[in-house]
């Protein structure tokens, strides 16, 4: 069981979801994030004063999958989110120790579904 965490551009979320659905991956969790990697920030002007904005809007996706689905998920995310420019994002894969479904207390791989 693996937890896949991906940081992507917000505008790419619907494309990533489409790609995931094509691969039959439906369970997903999405949060707002601020961040930057190699992308520098940008400058705003507020009443004459420059404002340095270093943290850009990102979307963080978390998907828990069984080992057999890891490659499909990563491929789907890359297919949906990649534009070839700096700022496309990153994917991290973490191991999951245990998964429990709250509804019926199922454990392990079946709980991930």
């Amino acid at each position: 069981m693996k937890l896949i965490i991906a940081y992507i551009q917000p505008g790419k979320l619907s494309e990533v979801k489409q790609e995931l659905y094509k691969k039959k991956i439906y369970k997903i969790s999405v949060t707002n994030a601020l961040g930057c990697g190699q992308q520098k920030g940008y400058t705003e002007v507020y009443r004459g004063i420059d404002v340095e904005v270093n943290l850009l809007k990102k979307v963080r996706i978390e998907i828990a999958v069984n080992d057999s689905f890891v490659d499909a998920t990563v491929d789907a995310i890359v297919a949906g989110a990649a534009t070839g420019t700096i700022g496309d994002g990153k994917i991290f894969i973490l191991p999951i120790e245990q998964t429990i479904r709250i509804r019926n207390r199922e454990k392990g791989s079946p709980a991930i579904g």
């Binding site: 917000p10 979320l13 619907s14 707002n32 940008y42 400058t43 705003e44």
Partner: protein, 454 residues
């Protein structure tokens, strides 16, 4: 003791009365015609003062509608474009007012040339308070027409393009059709009746909005094509409370818009106008609510808000000549029309209008204008339902068609020219980034976490 006191007072009063009457009689003999002249002058001054006060108050009410439009548009669009919408609304009044002062007023109310336009009083100046009063009342109407378009073209229009549009609409397009109807031009002479501007203001804004949206194209992500099928996607507004505040402010301002159009502080029919306005707005809101309940399963908030506006636009032309029952019917029908119109324009014509401006102002403006020909109870221009036959209705229809053609043509050319020489639309990255950052380098919602991915 009490009786004695009473008695004395009565005697004192009688004495005072006798002296007063004697003085009055003396004054009358001495003053003669001079007193009568003074009286006439005094009455005239008070008449002028009442007109002045009422029209300036009404003008302020209509000015406040600018805030109404801004709030409605901000509420029904995305947060990343809020600052840009503020700028567009601020500027279509500010830049528009300057050009209406310089050119627009002259073309609309100047000395008539062939019934088509006016041509005097450019760069309004001098000391005539009545001229200033009238300009003041009219500039806020012109600005209302101009600002209608900003909602329809929201979230994807270049700011410079919108500035250019505001200037031309306030200086040329609005004044010319306005002259035809209110400035002594040919439509007014034919008996076309548009009391407060269903056609002069709202239809002009509505058809200009139509041309703008056609020239502009839809927002990115609004229409998704799957083979031959085009699906309309919702891009929800980010702040319905603001949208509702906007509608209430517009409704409030409309009392200046309609009741002020009596153009007189002593025309007591302003009360009738206020009542028909209220009834139509209410009926419009209720009508839209019921239809949205039937169509969508639940009473829809933003549709009901649009319904109130539709009722208001619809009653703007007939407000002074219809009965309360007529007002309710006009508003109700406007509320029904607006729901179907918004759906038709979005889902069938695939024209992206974020706030429904084309439906509320264009379609319901036309309805309100025609409604004069159906529901008018006024002598000499009775509507179809009151035994007046098709005469008034025909004139109204002619006006709707003529102004429609004028605005479609002139605004069409305007947007085409702007698109060709300045660019009308922002590029895709800017549109996704949000116009606040792209056009103004500043966020309206600095520090907020805005949870949207479009």
């Amino acid at each position: 003791m009490l009786m004695g006191f009473h008695h004395n007072r009565k005697e004192m009063d009688m004495k005072k009365l006798k002296v007063g009457v004697a003085m009055l009689v003396l004054m009358c003999f001495a003053g003669g015609t001079l007193a009568a002249d003074d009286l006439a002058q005094s009455v005239a001054l008070h008449q002028a003062a009442l007109d002045m006060i009422w029209l300036l108050i009404a003008a302020s009410l209509v000015f406040f509608m600018q805030a109404g439009f801004a709030m409605v548009e901000i509420g029904l669009t995305r947060a990343k474009n809020a600052g840009n919408i503020i700028m567009k609304n601020l500027m279509d009044f500010s830049a528009g007012a300057l050009f209406y002062w310089a050119i627009g007023w002259a073309l609309m109310y100047g000395s008539d040339v062939g019934g088509l336009f006016g041509f005097s009083d450019f760069f309004v100046s001098g000391t005539d308070s009545v001229l200033y009063r009238d300009w003041m009342f009219q500039v806020v109407f012109a600005a209302t027409a101009a600002t209608i378009v900003s909602g329809a073209v929201a979230e994807r229009t270049k700011f410079t393009a919108y500035l250019l549009y505001s200037v031309v609409v306030s200086a040329v397009i609005y004044p010319i059709s306005g002259h035809w109807i209110w400035g002594g031009g040919w439509l007014g002479s034919l008996g076309f009746h548009d009391f407060a501007g269903s056609t002069v203001v709202h239809s002009v804004g509505g058809w200009a909005a139509l041309m703008g949206t056609l020239a502009l194209g839809p927002r990115i992500g609004k229409y998704v094509t799957n083979g031959k099928k085009v699906t309309s996607k919702a891009i929800p507004g980010h702040n319905l409370p603001l949208a509702s505040l906007g509608v209430f402010i517009l409704w409030f301002g409309w009392y200046g818009f309609n009741a002020g159009s009596t153009l007189s502080g002593t025309d007591l029919s302003m009360a009738n106008v206020a009542v028909t306005t209220t009834l139509a707005a209410s009926a419009g809101a209720v009508g839209a609510m019921i239809i949205s309940w039937i169509q969508f399963g639940k009473p829809d908030v933003s549709m009901s808000l649009n319904g109130a506006l539709a009722g208001l636009v619809g009653i703007t032309a007939p407000t002074a000549v219809v009965s309360p029952v007529g007002a309710i019917l006009i508003g109700l029908i406007a509320g029904v029309i607006v729901v179907y119109s918004v759906e038709f324009i979005d889902k069938v014509l695939h024209i992206d209008d974020p706030v429904g401006a084309i439906s509320v102002h264009g379609v319901c403006g036309a309805w309100g204008t025609l409604a004069v020909g159906l529901f008018s109870t006024a002598e000499g221009m009775k509507g179809l339902f009151y035994g007046g036959g098709f005469t008034q209705l025909g004139i109204q229809a002619l006006g709707v068609a003529a102004v429609g053609a004028w605005v479609v043509a002139s605004a069409g050319i305007l947007f085409f020219v702007i698109r060709k020489f300045n660019g009308l639309r922002v590029d895709a990255t800017d549109e996704l980034k949000g116009l606040d950052l792209a056009e103004h380098n500043a966020e309206a919602y600095s520090g907020f976490q805005i949870f949207t991915t479009m």
